[in-house]
């Protein structure tokens, strides 16, 4: 998208639609550049990109190859022109088309047919009577390609042809005039100038395809989501909404009225973030049928930016846990698909971390471009690391929490997951900034972050916290850590220093106590009276046996999960008058100590950035999780400190383990230096070159076969 805009501007300096309409003319329109024009290095890159992009966009019109083709030609006979004005007859045109095909080596015309139609511009070119006759004819001819003699087919037309004429046969290729003519020129082009000329000629065609790129990518995203349905990634889908949005976005792009760079990007939202008239369950039976009447600020800003909401993702009940196991099923890690004998219905599988596991899985598997999660103790960074995508938790208060169903108001932060750091930055720039609805959002004006083209890491000091070598840190995680520090040292010439954050070892305890207290308080509202699960009352047999308390008790008993209930009990215990100072206040004091530790490390110029592991180990099997019984486990050890101190942190996929599972590392930076951490992350991703699952051939192959 970006490079296309650039090349349009650089070469043409003209809006595209005005360039030309006829393919032949456009090829010889050379006024844009003179003959001495040399292709700079950058342009070569664009050339490749163009090629790739063309191929990518050819979802329905197959690539032209040099392989043998049996072509069925469909010549259109337009009925609306008066005969006197016609300079040619359909028969002559058909002869021209046949000779065009014959020009190409290995191409053979098997059969041809002249069809009269009035509707060459509508989605369905042929009437239903013709459709039936043609489909029979094509099927019996044994052709493997269909050449519809029309200047350019729109994507919708291709789609329509495929469903009505070809019986959804994926092996059939569909061509239009433009494509065939281009192919002839392409085969004969030798010099680089000639190649560029063809590339230029392709641009209108590409743009033509590109016009539908958003709808296409949305449909692709929906199809992939449907294919991966068994991974329990989505709790509710909003495919209809996404498709509707995609058409609108498409229109905006075509009119050059795109809202921003996010216009047309697909995304998912964790199901504990309120979406107007889309149910928001928090993964709990309690809110199974709860549909908010307002949008969270984040969702509101994203929808206004033109992004396409594909669905609401699965999570641990109310975000408590790190497995993403909820009332609606357990999220299976997309890496499961790579396992050769993976059974979708099996009870054991690799988990995807949590609590934003569904969001991470949706990004990692390529369903969407980005996803919005929430991070209380590492709920964005942990699954991102485990599923192999980027997970960013900004500074506390950068993004409004209004509409996020709270777990712990002190620590909750909206987080972003994506595979590309520039998309992530665009999202962050869109959703960050003060919000009058959230008093805790930072009040200062938000300056959009720009990624520097070349980032100088020479002056960066990387801190390695001494305390981050706990028992249980796996060899693989250690390897990833060393690997990443190595990259900073070797490629970036960064200075590596050892630092100490002594109180950080208590961050899990602080997290547990504070979260329990908050949960006890925040969850008092789920009584099933105004919204949420309402237990059925048997008023016929027991007309006066209920009062307010018994009804609420019944509602809560029947709908809240074990983890939630145990945290409510412990939270209420911590908040008792006699315990308040012992637990709650003390936790806040420790929290302050941890903040001070970080301030010391960052402000005394010891270092600019901490590099730490993100998890103890790679993802593990569900059966392994079931053996554990702790309400709070130590899994969030590396991540929770950033929440406690309110610092920005990001996890980046680093290496693949021996089991070919992703392992991430975490960067933590100074308060409010989200720009620094994102720039460094960008630098690291470029240097590291991790292959995302969504680009993995085996993965793509597997899900296309299914």
């Amino acid at each position: 998208m970006v490079f296309l805009n650039k090349i349009f501007k650089k070469i043409c300096q003209k809006p595209f639609s005005k360039l030309t309409s006829s393919p032949i003319r456009s090829i010889f329109t050379t006024h844009c550049f003179d003959n001495d024009f040399e292709i700079p290095l950058d342009e070569n890159l664009y050339w490749d990109n163009l090629q790739n992009s063309l191929e990518e966009s050819d979802q329905y019109t197959n690539k032209l190859t040099k392989a043998e083709k049996n072509v069925f030609i469909l010549q259109l006979k337009m009925q609306y022109r008066s005969k006197s004005r016609q300079s040619t007859t359909p028969e002559l045109q058909l002869a021209e088309s046949i000779s065009l095909v014959d020009t190409l080596d290995n191409w053979r015309v098997i059969d041809s047919h002249i069809v009269s139609t009035k509707r060459s511009h509508s989605r369905e070119i042929f009437g239903s009577g013709n459709q039936e006759m043609l489909s029979k004819k094509i099927a019996s001819s044994g052709a493997d390609s269909l050449f519809v003699v029309i200047d350019r087919l729109t994507n919708m037309q291709v789609k329509g042809l495929r469903t009505t004429l070809l019986g959804n046969n994926p092996n059939m290729a569909i061509y239009d005039r433009y494509k065939v003519v281009l192919e002839i020129f392409k085969r004969n082009a030798r010099s680089s100038i000639a190649k560029l000329q063809i590339a230029l000629a392709e641009i209108p065609y590409l743009r033509h395809r590109y016009e539908n790129k958003i709808v296409n990518s949305c449909i692709r995203s929906i199809n992939r989501a449907k294919k991966l349905e068994k991974l329990n990634i989505l709790i509710s889908d909003t495919f209809d909404l996404a498709e509707k949005q995609a058409f609108e976005s498409e229109k905006r792009w075509n009119k050059n009225l795109a809202i921003g760079r996010l216009d047309g990007r697909t995304f998912t939202v964790k199901d504990n973030i309120s979406t107007e008239s889309i149910r928001t369950t928090c993964g709990s039976k309690m809110l199974e049928n709860y549909t908010p009447s307002f949008n969270a600020t984040v969702v509101d800003r994203l929808l206004k930016s033109g992004s396409l909401l594909v669905g609401k993702t699965n999570l641990d009940e109310f975000g408590m846990g790190s497995v993403s196991s909820s009332y609606f099923g357990t999220v299976k890690n997309p890496y499961n698909v790579l396992i050769d004998d993976f059974d979708e219905d099996a009870n054991d599988f690799y988990i995807s971390g949590g609590s934003s596991g569904g969001s991470a899985a949706s990004v990692s598997s390529g369903i969407v471009d980005f996803s919005i999660g929430s991070d209380t103790g590492g709920s964005v960074r942990n699954p991102a690391s485990i599923c192999g995508c980027i997970g960013f938790k900004p500074t506390y208060g950068m993004i409004s929490r209004f509409g996020l169903i709270p777990l712990n108001n002190y620590l909750d932060t909206i987080g972003i997951m994506s595979r590309k750091i520039d998309v992530l930055v665009d999202v962050f720039n869109t959703i960050a900034g003060p919000d009058p609805n959230d008093a805790t959002s930072l009040k200062c004006e938000f300056k959009p972050i720009k990624l520097a083209d070349s980032f100088n890491t020479n002056e960066i000091k990387i801190g390695i916290p001494k305390e981050f070598f706990p028992n249980g840190l796996s060899e693989e995680s250690l390897k990833a850590w060393k690997h990443s520090v190595g990259i900073f040292e070797k490629f970036g010439n960064a200075k590596i220093v050892s630092v100490s954050i002594p109180n950080i070892i208590y961050s899990m305890s602080v997290y547990s106590v504070l979260t329990s207290c908050e949960v006890a308080s925040n969850f008092a509202r789920y009584d099933g009276i105004r919204y949420g699960y309402h237990s059925e009352l048997n008023l016929d047999t027991n007309p006066s046996g209920y009062n307010f308390e018994t009804v609420v008790r019944k509602n809560r008993d029947e709908s809240l999960g074990q983890v939630v209930r145990s945290r409510i009990v412990s939270g209420n215990y911590f908040l008792l008058k006699d315990n308040y100072e012992k637990y709650f206040l003390k936790s806040h004091k420790i929290k302050q100590l941890i903040v001070n530790d970080f301030l010391k490390v960052f402000n005394d110029d010891q270092c600019d950035l901490l590099v730490t592991p993100s998890c103890f180990n790679e993802t593990f099997k569900y059966s392994h999780f079931l053996k554990q019984s702790q309400v709070f486990d130590e899994k969030d050890f590396f991540t929770s400190c950033a929440n406690v101190a309110g610092l920005p942190a990001i996890t980046l996929p680093c290496i693949l383990s021996q089991n070919s599972l992703p392992i991430g590392i975490q960067l933590i930076s100074k308060w409010k230096r989200d720009d620094l951490i994102l720039n460094i992350a960008n630098w690291f991703i470029n240097k590291n070159g991790f292959e995302f699952l969504a680009d993995n051939d085996k993965f793509l192959h597997k899900i296309s076969n299914n």
Binding site: A439, R525, Y580
Partner: protein, 585 residues
């Protein structure tokens, strides 16, 4: 005509018409026992919107149930409180009126308890660090026996901002409104969320009061003050001004020197629906506790309410098992910072438990001015103080009356308590006034008008200007003796009757033919008529010397009755006496 006697009499009447009956408080003066009473007042903040949401917040009585409810008020998940600037200003104004120390930084806390009228399961209030503390309030007390006015002082412990709970409706209240098919099962609890989230100021006093009458006087003066500064409309009936009374009677151990006050048991009186209920309920409770101590029975720690029909207090619930409210700082609101050029925040004192240090960094304080539009962050105290200077406090109003019109403190007290000072200012601004006229004005306002205040429910509906015009026209009539003194009160009543809304006094007098009768012949003929009708009385007058005064009064009354009370009294008396004397001689 208007003697001092008149003023005093009317004053007394006015005073008693307000408290209806005199309290026994003064007679209770047991040296063995000491009474301590403290008050907790919940005053609803007069504001357009609720304290933490933008839902409307006015006219509770005429709003359909559950209409003015924001997402936050109904505790939908994901909603967050947004502090209303008006709420803070009202809190600060009240704090200034009650001479409190303003806390540069205060913060909000959650008070958890579980009840159907609390949708979120907690109330946002200020427990550990309220907006203002340590004030005092000077309030006037009129001694019920001597009618002398003196000022008492009461210490104010704290003023805190909090939000109100929802209103729970009793099934009996709504039963009539439901049709028969919609029969609700027993134990049904109906909740109206209109009230949920409205801003309240909780004002807590020290236990400085020793009698019910002091409490009563304090509450009245406080209501008047809050009304004057416009922070609360003090409508007791609608729950806009709720007073909880904590009463404890202590025994005094006289054996030691100096005598020690032994600890007593605190009983809380809740749901006192009127000022009168405060007086009566507290009185009853003191009496009850005194009796219990005499009988050596233990007093239970409990919450009681006052039944105004039976005139007794009833136990609501026991407080033996003290409920743990599990206070916790409200995480979604930043500390409330009051900024003033005189009150520089000291960073060291700004330590808060809920740990917003990162937000409250030095950087923040340097840029404090740029946060002016963030009410929860920053409130300009100087501006509020400026506003306060322009407010008319009751004491200021009373002193104005005393100094300008030479009223006694007692009369000024009644004037201000009933907002008569606004009327007299309006009336007198018309022209220069003599002392005699001033007395006449005072008298009319204190008797006739005050009578209307107490008895005419429609009075509030009449425009202030119109009221003044009516009073003015009435005074012109009586000054010129155009209507009989005997019908002043009833005439005034008619004047303020809703059906005579647009009539001034002279119009009314003309329409209803109420002008005074000064025609001696008409009176004479009426006397003759009465004499004829009552031969027995005339005879008795002749015979019995002792009964003459009584019979004279009887005839005067009869004549007035015959003439619809509109004849000039002096003339009637004169003529009747003349006629009676003629009978003897």
């Amino acid at each position: 005509m208007l003697s001092l006697f008149h003023t005093k009499k009317s004053f007394t009447r006015a005073f008693f018409s307000q408290i209806r009956s005199i309290s026994e408080a003064i007679e209770f003066n047991d040296p063995e026992l000491k009474v301590k009473i403290g008050l907790e007042i919940h005053a609803r903040i007069l504001s357009k919107t609720k304290l933490f949401s933008d839902a409307d917040c006015f006219d509770l009585t005429n709003t359909p149930v559950n209409k003015n409810v924001g997402f936050f008020d109904a505790a939908f998940p994901g909603t967050m409180p947004a502090l209303n600037r008006r709420g803070i200003e009202a809190g600060l104004l009240t704090a200034l009126a009650l001479n409190c120390d303003i806390n540069v930084m205060s913060y909000f806390e959650r008070k958890h308890y579980f009840y159907a009228d609390l949708p979120a399961g907690y109330q946002i209030t200020q427990q550990r660090n309220p907006i203002a503390q340590n004030g005092y309030f000077k309030y006037p007390v009129v001694n019920p026996k001597t009618h002398k006015l003196s000022y008492n002082n009461c210490k104010i412990k704290r003023i805190q901002l909090e939000h109100d709970s929802a209103r729970s409706l009793q099934i009996d209240d709504v039963f009539l409104k439901l049709n028969k098919k919609q029969k609700l099962p027993e134990n049904t609890l109906l909740i109206d969320l209109n009230r949920a989230g409205m801003g309240l100021m909780e004002i807590v006093t020290d236990p400085d009061f020793e009698s019910a009458f002091e409490c009563y006087s304090f509450a009245r003066e406080l209501a008047l003050t809050l009304k004057s500064i416009g922070t609360c409309d003090a409508q007791m009936g609608e729950g806009g001004f709720r007073v909880d009374v904590n009463v404890s009677v202590h025994e005094i151990d006289k054996s030691s020197d100096p005598p020690i006050v032994l600890p007593g048991t605190r009983v809380e009186l809740k749901n006192l629906s009127s000022f009168n209920a405060i007086l009566k309920g507290t009185e009853y409770e003191i009496k009850r506790q005194r009796e219990m101590i005499r009988k050596k029975q233990p007093i239970l720690l409990e919450t009681r309410t006052y039944d105004s029909i039976k005139g007794i207090t009833i136990s609501l619930r026991s407080k033996e098992n003290q409920y743990d409210y599990r206070f916790m700082p409200e995480p979604n609101l930043l500390p409330l910072i009051v900024y003033s050029t005189h009150l520089k925040p000291n960073l060291d004192t700004l330590k808060c438990d809920n740990n917003k240090q990162l937000c409250l960094s030095h950087e923040f304080f340097e840029k404090l001015h740029s946060f002016k539009n963030q009410p929860e962050f920053y409130c300009d105290f100087d501006k509020v103080k400026d506003q306060f200077e322009h407010k008319d406090l009751p004491d200021k109003r009373r002193m104005f009356l005393v100094n300008k019109y030479g009223m006694t403190h007692e009369i000024a007290f009644i004037f201000v308590a009933n907002n008569l000072d606004y009327i007299i200012k309006k009336l007198i601004s018309h022209r220069n006034i003599t002392k005699e006229d001033l007395k006449l004005y005072t008298r009319v306002l204190l008797t006739e008008y005050l009578n209307q205040v107490n008895e005419n429910p429609d009075l509030e509906k009449i425009d202030f200007e119109l009221q003044c015009a009516k009073i003015q026209s009435f005074i012109v009539l009586i000054k010129n003796k155009k209507i009989s003194r005997r019908i002043w009160l009833s005439f005034f009543k008619k004047l303020f009757d809703f059906k005579n809304l647009n009539k001034l006094a002279h119009e009314l007098a003309k329409d209803e033919d109420l002008y005074v009768i000064t025609d001696g012949q008409l009176i004479q003929s009426t006397i003759n008529k009465v004499f004829e009708q009552n031969p027995k009385a005339t005879n008795e007058y002749k015979m019995k010397d002792k009964k003459r005064k009584k019979i004279f009064d009887f005839f005067v009354g009869q004549v007035h009755k015959e003439l619809r009370n509109i004849a000039e009294p002096e003339l009637v008396e004169e003529l009747v006496l003349k006629n009676l004397k003629n009978l003897i001689y």
